[in-house]
């Protein structure tokens, strides 16, 4: 066996195999999921290590080469996102496994785990895929699993799940329309082949517009974010974490893949500025709404809308000539956001469990049982705001450098104002901890420390990401996706 | 052209008017009961003629059998459906026209 192929094969097959296992034998759910999660994290670390050592590689499925067959593409970007998925997946699984059992809905224990593992498998398949239609199938896998996980909370969450399903299916259908146009034009679905062959013409432009529109809907970019807060706010905490941290990032990942791959010739100043303005609007609007929320989980959900706005700033900065720092900065920001946001949602989940309610004004008072969660919340907040030396700081620093190098002072201002908003709404949330509150909720002794630890480990990884700057820089440079 | 092809073709052409008549009945008859009747009769005769015609024309026994199978299936489907629809319509209290 070739060692480098084993990593992707494990990352692809293990979640699906584990999902089948826990579907057939629900009783083994927790041990199987936790075991598989550990192996998957190890495999993701290994894949990152291999990329660091020998650079990007490609694996042809079934031995069939590109125009006919499907490939897996492992480079720095996909390896980083695979690792992010594994980290969030493991922490989320630990969190969900250690929730107090009586609070779970009736259907939850039997169906959470297969859906969770299917979601994981879909995400891994997506990050590995180098074929546009394969990406579509993986996207659908992710969508249905997400819908099932949101709907598990029952009640009004099912209505939120329905709205999410409609939005995400619309997004993938529009995306597929663009894929069909591209296929008709170039007779290829492979990213690398398309990158080599794409020309600037009408069909390609329409295809690019459609695919971008579909993915913007999936990434919940302003003004297409309408479905996100309800879905992410109502889902179980572990689900909110993976949805906000990784599923949204998947849409963003594809946008970056496409615009720095096949559509790079089309990335003129006009398109880039438009995308950048959407991002800027998302930063401000999401930040403003987050500031106005009264519920902790809704606040975090709107924060996701705001934070992914930064990701879009990569396009105008890259079009202006600072492709490399902007790209590295934006991807770092997305990774840091993923870790921090997952930590925030898990911490919020633990806090809400402790107090039995998620209205901000009711979260004060006795914090026994939720101390760790608040610490995690604070550290993750620091990363999200961008205090040094966290990952958030690193990403913003690189983005700011790109803005300064190209004279993009408008984008720099957006970065600053957005940071102000972030600090303001997270401060509001943190303030709630120290206020006197009503004494309610469940006995702190029933809350496992693993809840807080899961959140804390993610928050610490978000912070540590900033220290790993040199490694990260090398990793993200590996591969054809990275602009030189 | 052989005789079999002529006969087959004529049978096919003979079947078409029945299909058209079925639609006419569907449009012109006053309520659901005579419409059921019109469809059940004419469509099945029409389809039967076409199937047999094409079978004769092809000159192959397996094809003929397959076509007859299609016809029988449609017969069963429409007969059951007609019966069920009529029963349910009566049960629902839809009065036949003129009563």
């Amino acid at each position: 066996m070739i060692p480098e192929t084993a990593g992707p094969v494990i990352l692809f097959s293990l979640p699906l195999a584990a999902a089948i296992t826990v579907f057939i034998r629900p009783r083994w759910s927790v041990p199987v999921t936790l075991g598989a999660s550990g192996v998957l994290l190890a495999a993701a670390v290994w894949v990152v290590g291999v990329v660091l050592q020998q650079g990007a590689w490609r694996h042809d499925i079934g031995g069939w080469t590109a125009p006919l067959g499907i490939g897996w593409n492992v480079d720095g970007l996909s390896a980083a996102l695979l690792l992010l998925t594994a980290a969030v997946g493991l922490a989320g699984a630990v969190f969900h496994a250690s929730r107090p059992a009586p609070l779970a809905t009736v259907r939850d224990p039997r169906f959470f785990w297969p859906l969770w593992l299917f979601l994981w498998g879909g995400l891994n398949a997506l990050f590995l895929a180098a074929d546009l239609f394969n990406v579509y199938v993986a996207l659908e896998l992710v969508s249905i699993a997400s819908v099932g996980l949101i709907g598990l909370a029952g009640g009004s969450a099912q209505a939120a799940a329905w709205r999410y399903l409609l939005a995400t299916l619309l997004g993938s259908t529009i995306y597929l329309f663009g894929v069909a146009l591209l296929y008709g034009r170039y007779a290829a679905l492979d990213l690398a082949l398309l990158t080599d062959g794409v020309e600037r013409d009408g069909v390609t432009a329409v295809a690019a517009a459609l695919m971008t529109l579909g993915l913007l809907l999936k990434a919940a970019v302003f003004p297409l974010h309408f479905w996100l807060p309800a879905a992410h706010g109502r889902a179980p905490p572990a689900v909110s974490a993976v949805l906000s941290a990784v599923v949204i990032a998947a849409g963003y990942y594809l946008l970056v893949r496409l615009w720095f791959g096949p559509f790079a010739p089309l990335l003129g100043t006009g398109v880039a500025t438009l995308l950048g303005l959407l991002g800027a609007a998302a930063v401000l609007w999401g930040g403003l709404l987050a500031l106005l929320q009264r519920r902790l989980k809704m606040l975090i959900a709107y924060s996701t809308v705001s934070q992914f706005g930064y990701g879009l700033l990569v396009f105008p900065l890259a079009a202006a000539g600072a492709a490399h720092p902007a790209w590295t900065g934006a991807v770092t920001l997305v990774l840091a956001h993923g870790l921090a946001k997952a930590a925030l949602f898990l911490a919020a989940g633990a806090i809400v469990l402790r107090h039995g309610i998620d209205r901000l004004e009711a979260l004060g008072g006795d914090q026994r049982g939720a101390t760790l969660a608040w610490v995690a919340f604070a550290i993750a907040s620091a990363s999200l705001v961008g205090l040094p030396p966290t990952g958030g700081f690193l990403g913003k620093w690189w983005l700011a450098q790109a803005a300064l190098a190209t004279g993009g002072y408008f984008w720099l201002a957006i970065l600053m104002v957005g940071t102000g908003f972030t600090a303001a709404y997270l401060w509001r949330a943190l303030q709630a901890a120290v206020r006197p509150g009503r004494e309610a909720g469940i006995d702190p002794a029933t809350l496992s420390a693993a809840l807080g630890l899961a959140a804390l480990s993610l928050a610490l990884s978000a912070a540590a990401l900033g220290l790993a700057a040199p490694v990260l820089g090398v990793l993200l440079d590996a591969g054809p996706g990275a602009p030189g | 052209m052989t005789a079999a092809q002529w006969i087959g073709g004529l049978l096919v052409l003979a079947g078409i008017p029945f299909l058209l008549l079925g639609t006419l009945g569907l449009l012109r008859f006053p309520d659901v009961y005579p419409r059921l009747h019109a469809l059940a009769k004419s469509d099945n005769v029409g389809l039967g003629l076409v199937c047999i015609g094409l079978g004769v024309q092809s000159g192959s026994l397996t094809l003929l059998l397959k076509l007859v199978l299609i016809w029988v299936l449609m017969l069963i489907a429409s007969a059951t459906a007609a019966g069920l629809i009529a029963r349910t319509a009566l049960a629902r209290g839809l009065r036949p026209w003129g009563t």
């Binding site: 066996m1 070739i2 192929t5 084993a6 094969v9 097959s13 699906l16 089948i20 579907f23 057939i24 034998r25 629900p26 009783r27 694996h59 042809d60 499925i61 079934g62 031995g63 069939w64 125009p67 006919l68 067959g69 499907i70 897996w72 259907r107 169906f111 859906l115 299917f118 498998g121 879909g122 398949a125 239609f133 394969n134 199938v137 993986a138 659908e140 896998l141 249905i144 699993a145 819908v147 099932g148 709907g151 598990l152 709205r163 146009l181 008709g184 034009r185 007779a187 009408g202 069909v203 329409v206 459609l210 | 299936l73 069963i76 059951t80 019966g83 069920l84 029963r87 349910t88 049960a91």
Partner: protein, 314 residues
């Protein structure tokens, strides 16, 4: 087909447009659903005209058959909802103008793309067909060149079934006010035909249009017909029973085939030389069975009973 062909295409396109309009706009919900079912039926004719008999088979079986049954059955729960639809979510008035405007623009652009070079991969497929293990190109693409898509697709089906189970128990079907004695007889009469046709399509798949997809759909449709004809749903969700294994069978086999390639020192999903034909046949049987049972499971709209049914049934 010459002039007649062009007239046929234009008429078909007009009819399809009108049906699509009816399906989205009709005031009566049942009217909309029937329009959609007829839309599927005529779509199958369009696939035939476009020389895609495989898709016509699948559309006839899945599109018009299974989806039609799904939609019609959902109506029994939704019909009385229609009057209270005001409760259902935000008004779309503001979007109503902008989206069609954008859509019209898009339509214009599609027309601008009228003369696509459309190179296609026909030659590549033909060249590789010899070593693919089957003679029918679509089957070769599905289970050899792009087998990874098929794996994920069966995964989507299984996942959909699990998701539906997670929503709640299967609602027990409403029993018709006037049970018909003809129905069970019809079920018993037709089910063997469904099985035969499914087997026939599966067998044909290696060298002609057919294969696991239409076969599975036909078999699934037959199972749904049995249910409608009064049989009790026989799938059980019990952990001890075999059903969970059987439902997962397709995905398990495809995953195993994929991993076997890696373990044998080749690429993921690479079949050892000379074994592609039998392997693909095996995978087709498993995939067809899975598709049939999963479609049936999807039709139940919830987790079936664990240990069986109480009460008289029919």
């Amino acid at each position: 087909m010459g002039v007649a062909g062009v007239i046929f295409d234009v008429l078909l396109a007009l009819a399809l447009t009108w049906l699509a309009w009816q399906a989205t706009r009709a005031a009566d919900l049942f009217h909309a659903v029937v329009s959609f079912i007829v839309f599927g039926l005529l779509m199958a004719l369009a696939w035939v005209r476009l020389e895609a008999p495989d898709i016509a088979l699948a559309e006839a079986a899945i599109g018009a058959g299974a989806t039609g049954a799904l939609l019609l059955s959902a109506l029994d729960r939704l019909a009385s909802r229609e009057r209270r639809r005001r409760l259902l979510y935000e008004p779309g008035a503001a979007w109503g103008f902008w989206i069609p405007a954008g859509g019209a623009l898009l339509g214009a652009l599609t027309l601008a793309a009228w003369k696509l070079p459309a190179p296609g991969l026909g030659n590549e497929v033909r060249a590789a067909l010899g070593v693919s293990g089957v003679e029918h190109p679509v089957t070769a693409v599905l289970l050899n060149f792009r087998a990874l898509d098929t794996l994920l697709e069966i995964g989507v089906l299984l996942l959909a079934a699990i998701t539906i189970w997670s929503l709640g128990r299967a609602p027990s079907p409403l029993i018709p006010a006037m049970p018909s004695p003809a129905l069970p007889a019809l079920g018993r009469l037709l089910f063997p035909v469904f099985v035969l046709v499914a087997a026939y399509l599966l067998w044909r798949g290696s060298h002609a249009p057919g294969g696991a997809f239409p076969a599975g759909a036909v078999l699934g449709a037959g199972a749904i017909l049995m249910l409608l004809a009064g049989a009790r749903p026989w799938i059980r969700s019990s952990e001890r029973g075999p059903w969970r294994w059987i439902l997962s069978l397709g995905l398990v086999m495809l995953l195993a085939a994929g991993i076997a390639g890696t373990l044998a020192g080749q690429a993921f999903f690479e079949y050892p030389p000379g074994t592609a034909g039998p392997l693909i046949l095996l995978l087709e049987v498993a995939a067809g069975l899975s598709i049939a049972l999963l479609l049936f499971a999807l039709y139940l709209r919830g987790e079936p009973c664990e240990h069986g049914y109480r009460g008289k049934g029919r």
